[in-house]
Amino acid sequence: MVNWWLVLSAGLLAGATTCAVTQGGLLVGLIARQRKAAGVTAGRRSAADDLAPVGGFLAGKLLSHTALGGVLGALGTAFGFDPRVGAVALLVAGALLLMLGLGSLGVPVLRDVRFTPPEAWLSVVRGQTRSRSAAAPFLLGLAVLLVPCGVTLSMEVLAATSGSALTGALVMAVFVLGTAPLFTLYGYLSQKLPFGRAMSTALGALVVVFGLITVNAGLVAAGSPVSLGGLPGFGTPAATVAAPPPSVAPGQRQDVRVQALNDGYSPRVVTASAKGPVRLTFSTDRVASCILSTALPTLGKQVILPQTGSKTLDLGTLAPGDYPISCSMGMYTATLRVVA
């Protein structure tokens, strides 16, 4: 149900863009003021002195965001979950990323859709940035939950639709851990990053690309006929043309088999007849990718595959047409083609 690489990539992206520049700036300012107040000079600092506040900040951020992910996952589960919700979540998350990226590129029309926290929330964060307490980096890490950027909001959407409190908590935990490497480097350097307009534009473009990938994943997961797979250079290669449909007597059950590999389905197009019920079996052999969560979104069917083994779906008798098969995040696709 969750593409952990997408979540981790979002964390790395946020670490490289919004988080590092803004929250990292707040953290570095806090550390610098505290050192100045304590009379600590650069020559007297060890690596541990540099990294301890960053560790405290990340621990606080990990704690608050993981807890929120758990709550969002539980709330989402209470409202019910099916594969189509996951597709909508991806579309919303992708839209949030696109808005953030385009906003960074200076597109003015998107100004009004940014999330503006209430002043009381801002005051909580502001209070921690000026604190002299040794616990301030940790408390700041807890508090930045109140000022989410677009990337964070998009991950919160995924957490809310992840299917369980535990998965929701893990989504946010993996995301925050993804931001850790750049935060650590940032804290070690102990200075605000040079962030010129050109850099901002380049990173904005990166967020836009990531948003498009996420929207595409949502479109594929929703079974949309419009996606990147329909463009030249994407999608099913010519070599994977469907085999002719089997000869089936009316009412006769058909067994259709698809191999789920680490990097896609084989074959990419399978055929069945509309004359009888279809049993679709997915087989795996030491697979570890998001393909283990496979869905037929237009039929509202989803299956979690074992790393090695097989799972069968009874689809009943289907009307002629193409039925998309995809991993829940829409990265890998195949088609079940039913002919009259």
Partner: protein, 71 residues
């Protein structure tokens, strides 16, 4: 004590505003700084001795462009 307003370009989330306020408050003589993400404005209360250029430089240090508003 005087109050000045700056239009800010380049913000994308509430943390941006907090970072701008943080950098402004580090300027000696600045008593208060409040950035509003929705209006894209920062209102600064500072001693008369603090120049506009100093405030613009602090906003630039945060990574944003501040333009003095005469309203």
């Amino acid at each position: 004590m005087r109050t000045v307003t700056f239009a800010i370009a380049g913000m994308h989330c509430a943390s941006c505003g907090l970072l701008i306020d943080d950098c402004l408050l580090d300027v000696e003589g600045v008593a208060d700084a409040r950035t509003n993400l929705k209006t894209e404005r920062t209102v600064v209360r500072a001693d008369d001795t603090v120049g506009d250029a100093e405030l613009v430089a602090a906003i630039a240090e945060a990574g944003y462009v501040g333009t003095l508003q005469h309203d």
